[in-house]
């Protein structure tokens, strides 16, 4: 027999109201933890919300053939698929991305001096005074280059300086175009 419960099917609204009052009855909120403590166990945190529990219990109604009860909510419609960018998920993803970026930056920063030490090639930098003086050669410096693109620039400048020193290249002040990587290398 799968008869719908009276709370939905009774023709008398007073009967329905009385049964609804009975359905929504809940123990005092402090009672469950007190019983749990007396028994030496802890109550799951999800159980602290008595109204949610009532909804779950009410949600069992269609299983026995009756229509859904009035207090049923979307929460009782079943588990929702997990979404990556919901709530705390988006913060987790953002944190993970930040961590990856930070690790990449640290690794790059560490690899640059190691590479320069391993090759034992001194970096070449241009001093502030040499910028305005066309005759000045770039000075050699042991300062490690901060990045790979700067290395390329310095290599070009060093090559240029060597060629100038050898007389193969005119002693020109490096222009913006010539100091750029690659573009300045082939210029006479």
């Amino acid at each position: 027999m799968t008869e719908p419960p009276l709370v939905n099917s009774s023709p008398n609204p007073a009967t329905r109201r009385l049964l609804e009052a009975g359905l929504s009855d809940e123990p005092p909120p402090e009672l469950r933890p007190a019983v749990a403590a007396a028994l030496g166990v802890t109550v799951p945190s999800t159980a602290s919300s008595s109204s949610a529990l009532a909804r779950v219990e009410l949600a069992s109604e269609p299983a026995r053939g009756g229509p859904a009860r009035p207090e049923k909510t979307a929460d009782s419609a079943g588990p929702r698929p997990a979404r990556l960018f919901d709530g705390a998920g988006k913060w987790f993803v953002a944190g993970a991305l930040l961590g990856v970026v930070a690790c990449a930056v640290i690794l790059l920063a560490r690899s640059a001096p190691q590479r320069s030490e391993a090759t034992a090639t001194p970096s070449v930098t241009k001093t502030q005074s040499s910028v305005g003086n066309a005759r000045d050669l770039p000075t050699l410096s042991s300062t490690p280059a901060p990045s790979r693109s700067f290395d390329i620039d310095l290599e070009a400048a060093r090559e240029l300086a060597v060629r100038q020193a050898l007389g193969e290249a005119p002693a020109e002040p490096p222009t913006a175009a010539s100091s750029a990587p690659r573009t300045g290398l082939g210029k006479p």
Partner: protein
């Protein structure tokens, strides 16, 4: 739980914790609807779970809810027997005037009225009615819990419904507005 191994004891604690979370409200409501007073229901609920704790390792998870309901019914019956022995108290039927304002009543007042109506049913009919109408048990579950044939559980539910609806109609006609 003298003869219970530590592993069983740990499992029992988990089961007990889960059962408290899932079924405590059902047990407490069943006790209340079967006539246990509010303050006594708090102690009675604890008795139910203490009893459950001593037997949890023997009860399959699938029968847990029925087992707890059965315990609540027995504890409620004991409480009612004690109450009858201690005091000669009739059913607490509310004043006729209560029905005049039934539509505007607060939920707590309606619950009192509900309990008054339930108290007019015999214990057998009341138990089946409460489990089916208020706790969402199916008739096979009720039959299993009460160790009854399914036909008898069905019959009791039908009688209980008829008696409860008749009581509501009677009270409305006698206590409603003229």
């Amino acid at each position: 739980m003298g003869g219970v191994s530590p592993k069983q004891r740990a499992g029992t604690a988990e089961r007990l914790s889960a059962a408290l979370g899932e079924h405590f409200s059902m047990v407490w409501r069943t006790l209340r609807r079967l006539g246990v007073e509010s303050t006594a229901a708090n102690d009675a609920a604890q008795v139910v779970f203490v009893t459950f704790a001593s037997r949890a390792h023997e009860i399959p998870i699938t029968r847990q809810r029925s087992f707890l309901a059965g315990l609540a019914i027995r504890v409620a019956a004991n409480a009612q027997r004690r109450k009858r022995r201690n005091e000669e108290e009739g059913a607490r039927v509310p004043r006729h005037g209560a029905w005049v304002d039934e539509e505007t009543m607060k939920r707590s007042e309606r619950r009192e009225l509900l309990d008054a109506g339930l108290s007019t049913l015999s214990t057998e009919l009341r138990t089946v009615f409460v489990l089916y109408e208020l706790e969402g048990f199916t008739l096979p579950e009720i039959a299993e819990t009460l160790e009854l044939p399914l036909v008898m559980a069905t019959s009791r539910l039908r009688q209980g419904r008829h008696a409860f609806e008749a009581w509501v109609t009677r009270e409305q006609s006698s206590g409603g507005p003229p």
